[in-house]
C-alpha cells in the first residue's frame, strides 16, 4: 500500500476534526486544568459512539477494526487539539493486548472496551526513563496466583482507568497482568503533571492476585506486550506530529499578523527561513509516521524500525516546533493566557512517555547494524 493518505483516511481525519473542534477544542484543556479535572467521561462516550475506542477491536466484538494507520489519523487529530483522552492507553495498547489473547475473559473485556465502558492504564516504568526490560517489580508465585511487590511511576491515565496492565518480574521472567484497581495492598497517588493530564504512581505491597490475572504464560510478558506497545508508540508519534502541526500553524499565523517596524515580522528572512525549516522537519516526520502505520497494518513482525524512527523523529520535531513557537511569538508566547505553553508542556511529556529520543534511536541503531 502506498505512502499516501487514502480517501478513507482523509474522510476519517475530517470527521475527527469536526468532532474534536465541537467537543474538545483546545480551550477544553484549559477549562479542565482550571477546574482540576483530568477526566472527561462524556467525551469518551462520544468517541466510543464514533467507533474510536474500538478502532483496533474486531467487528465481532463491537469494534470498528480500522487498523493502525487509522488509529494514527485519530491520534494526530487529538494532538492538534491537545485532546485529553485514554485513546492510546485503552484503544491502542490495551485493545492490542486483549485481541492477541483469545480467552473468553479477554474477548468480553474487548467488547466492553469498544463500547466505551472499560478503560485501561499501562504500568511499566519504575524509574525516570522508559525501559520495559529493566522492570524489577516482583511477581512471586504463591499457590495458583502471585504476590506483587514494588512501585510503578508515570502511569498515564492511571487515576481514571478502570483496570491496569502491569509488567512485573517472576522467576520465569517478565509477566503481564490484567488487574482491577481495588486490591488490598495497592495504593494510588495522583501526580500533578505539567501537561495537566492524568498520571498516577502505584505502590504494591504484597498484593495477592489470582492466576487468572496473568495474561498469556509466565515469562511471556514482554513478547505479548511488544506489538501493542509499538502500536502505542506509533500513535503517540502521530499525536506529537499533530501537536507540532498545530503549534506551527499558530506560529505562521502570528508571523503574518504581528507587525513590528511597520511590517509583518514574517517578512523578515531570519524568521522565514526558520519557519521554512520547521515545515521541512514536520513533512519528514509525517512521512515516518505514515510509514509506521502502514508497517503495523501490513507487516507487524517487521514494524519495529519504522515505529522507532517515527517516535524518535516526532519527539524531536514536536519539541523543536514548540520551542521555536514560543521564541517567534515573543513575550506573549510566555504567557499562560496564550495556548503555546500547553503545547510545549505536552510535547515534553509525550517525549518521555513510551520511550524518549535516545531509547528509540538506540533501537534504530541496533536494527541498522551499529
Amino acid at each position: 500500500m502506498k505512502l499516501v493518505e487514502t480517501e478513507e483516511e482523509k474522510i476519517l481525519a475530517d470527521s475527527a476534526r469536526t468532532l474534536l473542534d465541537r467537543s474538545a477544542p483546545i480551550g477544553k484543556l484549559r477549562q479542565m486544568r482550571d477546574a482540576g479535572r483530568t477526566n472527561e467521561p462524556e467525551l469518551w462516550q462520544e468517541m466510543a459512539a464514533a467507533g474510536w475506542s474500538g478502532i483496533l477491536v474486531p467487528e465481532e466484538y463491537g469494534g470498528s477494526a480500522m487498523g493502525h494507520a487509522a488509529a494514527n489519523v485519530l491520534a494526530r487529530e487529538m494532538g492538534r487539539n491537545l485532546t485529553v483522552s485514554s485513546f492510546i492507553s485503552t484503544a491502542v495498547i490495551a485493545a492490542g493486548v486483549l485481541r492477541s489473547v483469545e480467552t473468553d475473559v479477554a474477548c468480553d473485556r474487548l467488547s466492553q472496551l469498544a463500547a466505551g465502558t472499560l478503560t485501561y492504564a499501562l504500568a511499566i516504568d519504575e524509574a525516570s526513563k522508559f525501559d520495559p526490560s529493566k522492570v524489577e517489580m516482583t511477581a512471586e508465585p504463591r499457590g495458583n496466583g502471585y504476590i506483587l511487590s514494588g512501585q510503578k511511576v508515570f502511569v498515564a491515565d492511571g487515576c481514571n482507568a478502570n483496570r491496569i496492565l502491569l509488567l512485573a518480574r517472576s522467576p520465569d521472567g517478565l509477566c503481564l497482568f490484567d488487574l482491577e484497581k481495588s486490591l488490598p495492598g495497592l495504593t494510588q497517588q495522583e501526580v500533578q503533571m505539567i501537561d495537566s493530564r492524568d498520571v498516577a504512581e502505584f505502590s504494591f505491597e504484597n498484593v495477592e492476585v489470582t492466576g487468572e490475572t496473568l495474561v498469556g504464560r509466565p515469562g511471556e510478558g514482554l513478547t505479548l506486550l511488544s506489538p501493542a506497545l509499538q502500536a502505542g508508540q506509533a500513535a503517540l508519534a502521530a499525536e506529537a506530529t499533530g501537536l507540532a502541526e498545530a503549534a506551527f500553524g499558530m506560529t505562521t499565523g502570528y508571523l503574518k499578523e504581528r507587525k513590528q517596524f511597520g511590517v509583518p515580522i514574517g517578512s523578515f528572512q531570519a524568521l522565514q527561513h526558520r519557519a521554512a525549516h520547521l515545515w521541512c522537519e514536520i513533512e519528514v516526520t509525517s512521512s515516518a509516521v505514515l510509514n509506521a502505520g502502514r508497517m503495523l497494518d501490513q507487516d507487524p513482525q517487521n514494524a519495529a524500525l519504522a515505529v522507532s524512527v517515527a517516535k524518535a523523529r516526532a519527539t524531536e520535531t514536536a519539541q523543536r516546533v514548540v520551542q521555536e513557537g514560543v521564541q517567534m511569538h515573543g513575550g506573549i508566547g510566555m504567557t499562560d493566557a496564550f495556548d503555546m505553553g500547553f503545547y510545549m508542556k505536552r510535547a515534553r511529556v509525550s517525549a518521555e512517555w513510551l520511550g524518549d529520543y535516545g531509547y528509540h534511536a538506540a533501537i534504530v541503531a541496533n536494527l541498522r547494524g551499529f
Binding site: 505512502l3 505562521t252 522565514q272 521541512c280 519528514v284 534511536a361 541503531a365
Partner: protein, 391 residues
Amino acid sequence: MAEAQSDGEEPLAEFRSNVRDWLEQHCPTEMRDGASGEDAICWGGTRWSFTSTAQEQWLRVCAERGFTVPTWPKAYGGAGLTRDEDKVLKDEMRKIGARSPLDSFGIWMLGPALLKFGTEEQKLHYLPPIARGEIRWCQGYSEPGAGSDLAGVQTLGVDDGDHWTVTGQKIWTSYADHADWIFALIRTDREAPKHLGISFLLIDMRSAGVSTKPIQLISGSSPFCETYFDAVEVPKEQVVGKVNRGWDVAKYLLTHEREMISNGGQVMGAGRPLGAVLQDSETGHSDPILLAKAMQAEVDSLALEMTLERYKDQAECGQGVGDASAMLKYMGTELNKRRLELVMELGGSLELSWSSDASPNWLRTKANSIEGGTSEVMLSIISRRILGLPG
C-alpha cells in the same frame, strides 16, 4: 484495496517476466556489478570513449529497446512504459545489479522540458539522439553575476533576422568541455522585467565563438566549466517555448533538477551505510559523541527515505510534487553533507589523504547545497510559496 491491486497485477507479472528474460539475454556480465559511481557512468555523446565493449554493447541494446529512457514515447526513442512498468524494469535491473545504460542531462533535464514545451519537430529532432546516447547536452544557466538571482542572466541574444547573435559568459556549466550541445537561458529583451525577457535557446557547442574552460574544485576534480559565447549565431528555430518566456521552461526544469539532486545517488545512496562505516572505524563505538551523531543521522536518513518514497507515491497518484521539491532538495543535501562529515570523522586520519575514498566525496558534497539552488533559496521558496509568508 487488495482487489484494486490485483487488477493490475496480471499484465505487470507478464511484463516482469518478459523484462527478466530480456535482461538475462542482453545485459553483459560486466555490466552486472551494481556499480553506480562516477567511474561506472556512461554519459554518451560524440566525444565519449566507452570504458569497455560491454558498456558500448549495453547502451546499444538498451537504446534499441527504448530502455535508456523507458517512459518516453516510442516515437522519441523511449519504450512508452507506464510508471508501474518502469518501476518493474528498475526493480529487475537492480536485482541483477545492472548498471544504468546511459545517464545524461539530456535525459534528466532537457528531455522533460522538450516533452512539455517543445514543438513536434523539435521533439523528433532532438530527443532520439539523446535516447541513443549520441548527443551529450550541458546546461547553461548560472552566470558570474547570476547565481541565486538566476533570472538576472545577462548573456545577450540580439535579434539578427533569421538568427540570434549570442554574446556573454556562463559559469558552473557541468561537463561543458565534454558536451555537444548546450541549453541556455539567454536575455532576448533587455527592456522587459527580468523574468519576461529570457529565452530558452539550444546551441551547438561546435558553433563559431563558443569556448569552454574547466574550473578546478576543492575536491580536486573539474566537473564544471566556464562557457564563453562570442557573437555565436543561433538559428531562430532553436528556441524552446515562446521567445521571452524561457523562464517558464527554466522553472519547470529546475523543479526536475531539485528532485534529481535530492533523489539521486549523490544523496541517499552516497557511499556505504553509516552502520558499516562505524563497524570498521577504530573509534566509532568508544566515542559517545560520535556514536550519538551517527545514530541521529541514521534516524534522519530513514525518515527522509520515507519522505522520498511518499512523494514518489504521491506523484504516481497524480499529485504533483511542485514546490515541495525545494524541501526534498534542502533536506537531502544538508543530510548528505552531515553524513560525509561523519564518515570523515569516523575514519579519522586514515581518510585525510587524497587516496582515501571519502575525502573527495566529502568535499564534493559541499556543492550539493549550492548547485541547483542554494539551501537558502530553497527555504525562501518554501516560505513564500508554501507558507505564504509576506515579501
